[in-house]
């Protein structure tokens, strides 16, 4: 059953300040909508619960990519196409551009935003594993002020985030100090375009003379939120690339992931594939 569109309120403020003021003044929660690639699907299917929405589409204060000597800062309302087209992002943060390239289709990438992908908080979303592997920071804004927190602390539990009712995700900051790191990303799904991941893993690591000095692993569809695989990372720190190390990493990933059975895959398949992906990465080092 299609939703009755007359039951929904949508307002499109002309500036970020105006949007934040609306959020601050309203006693009930407004749901932000940017490219609509998630919420409009729910509307079409007659299951869009929030009745008050606020449009962030094309708000210029949220749609930008700024490059400083130390960081690349991506406005939350930047689309996946904006990310794929940006020369510094594609050169220095290639696995983010890669993840953007297999998010939905070209038409979805022209509308879907990085901020929406994060705030929607799906455990299967395409960009979060990469942002976790790059150890991104997220900046949240409200009329009370601005705060920046590590992205790894943003997802609290299934679909619950650190975002307060009057806050918006402003931007995502990627630190440019990743010279000499090896990166890896792999999405396992029925196809790249349009399909939602069964499992996805993104890794940023550095080795020195065959020893793993630093490693960050971001994962999709292996826990109730996008997640860093901390136990697996710890099992690999200061270890040489050797069969015993790979065995320990495989055991660690099985211990810390809690995949589920759903329409796209089974928990067992997800666990085995996740371990295989870690092993595939380690074999390339």
């Amino acid at each position: 059953m299609r939703s009755n569109v007359t039951e929904y309120e949508l307002t499109a403020p002309g500036s970020l300040d105006a949007a934040l003021q609306i959020l601050a003044d309203s006693p009930d929660r407004y749901t932000p909508i940017a490219g609509g690639t998630e919420l409009m699907v729910a509307l079409g299917a007659g299951r869009l619960q929030p009745k008050k929405l606020i449009s962030l589409w094309n708000l210029k204060e949220l749609r930008f990519i700024e490059v400083t000597p130390d960081a690349v800062i991506i406005g939350a309302a930047s689309t996946f196409t904006d990310i794929r087209k940006h020369p510094i992002v594609t050169a220095e943060f290639s696995i983010l551009a890669q993840a953007a390239s297999w998010t939905g289709s070209i038409a979805n990438q022209n509308r879907g935003t990085l901020g929406g992908n994060i705030v929607n908080a799906s455990p299967a979303a395409d960009s979060p594993p990469v942002l976790l592997a790059y150890d991104a920071a997220v900046t949240l804004v409200s009329i009370r002020g601005i705060r920046t927190v590590p992205y790894r602390d943003f997802h609290l539990s299934y679909k619950k985030t650190d975002l307060a009712q009057d806050e918006l995700l402003h931007s995502i900051t990627l630190s440019r100090n990743i010279d000499g790191y090896t990166t890896y990303i792999r999405k396992v799904g029925t196809r790249n375009a349009q399909a939602i991941s069964k499992v996805a893993i993104a890794i940023v690591a550095r080795t020195n003379r065959g020893i793993i000095e630093s490693i960050r692993i971001g994962a999709a569809s292996l826990r109730e939120t996008p997640a860093r695989l901390i136990a697996t990372e710890q099992s690999l720190m200061s270890q040489p690339i050797a069969p015993a190390t790979i065995a320990k990493a495989r055991a660690a990933i099985l211990s810390e992931t809690i995949p589920i059975d759903d329409i796209r895959s089974t928990a067992k398949y997800r666990s085995v594939v996740a371990a295989n992906l870690i092993e595939e990465f380690l074999q390339t080092l």
């Binding site: 609509g36 409009m40 929405l53 094309n58 289709s105 070209i106 038409a107 790249n192």
Partner: protein, 166 residues
């Protein structure tokens, strides 16, 4: 009748003509095109942004009109399949789809044509991989895609030979 008072005026440009529609802000662009403006070229397939049958151009970008609340089109330029033909003559892309058998039942065709138009604007001489990516959000259940890819190749070749002779 909650929300009844929420209807508002949206001004947008459709296929080069300025239009004003009075509509609730969350009404989908697809429904405004088909119901309010009687432009039935854009089709509803899946209604969830996966099939591309409702694809149109918004300010030159390929988008799925089933996923756009009409309020977000305020001031935008929309091109639908009805705006692709030139002076009632088929656009070269349309002609190539016709000649190469790139259309059968026709439901996906408007979206395929617009996705092709968008692709060739950005990549005039696409490789097969680039064609596959450019059309990756458009599903067809008749052709098996090969004739569609052939049509895109032919359209790209035609556009290039025309620009060389000009």
């Amino acid at each position: 009748m909650a929300g009844f008072e929420m209807s508002g005026q949206i001004q947008l440009t459709i296929n080069g003509k300025e239009k004003t529609v009075e509509t609730p802000p969350m009404k989908r662009l697809l429904d405004v095109l088909r119901e309010d403006l009687h432009l039935t070229g854009a089709k509803e397939g899946c209604g969830e942004g996966e099939c591309g049958a409702c694809a149109v151009l918004m300010n030159g970008d390929l988008v799925n009109s089933c996923l756009i609340p009409i309020l977000q089109t305020q001031g935008a330029e929309i091109t639908t399949i009805e705006g692709i033909a030139i002076d009632k003559k088929l656009h070269p892309i349309q002609q190539c789809f016709l000649e190469q058998g790139g259309a059968q039942c026709g439901i996906c065709t408007p979206g395929m044509i617009l996705a092709t138009y968008h692709l060739l604007e950005k990549t005039p001489q696409p490789t097969l991989l680039q064609i596959q990516e450019g059309l990756n959000g458009n599903l067809c259940r008749c052709t098996g895609y090969m004739r569609i890819f052939n049509a895109v190749h032919a359209a790209a070749a035609k556009a290039t030979s025309q620009s060389e002779t000009q």
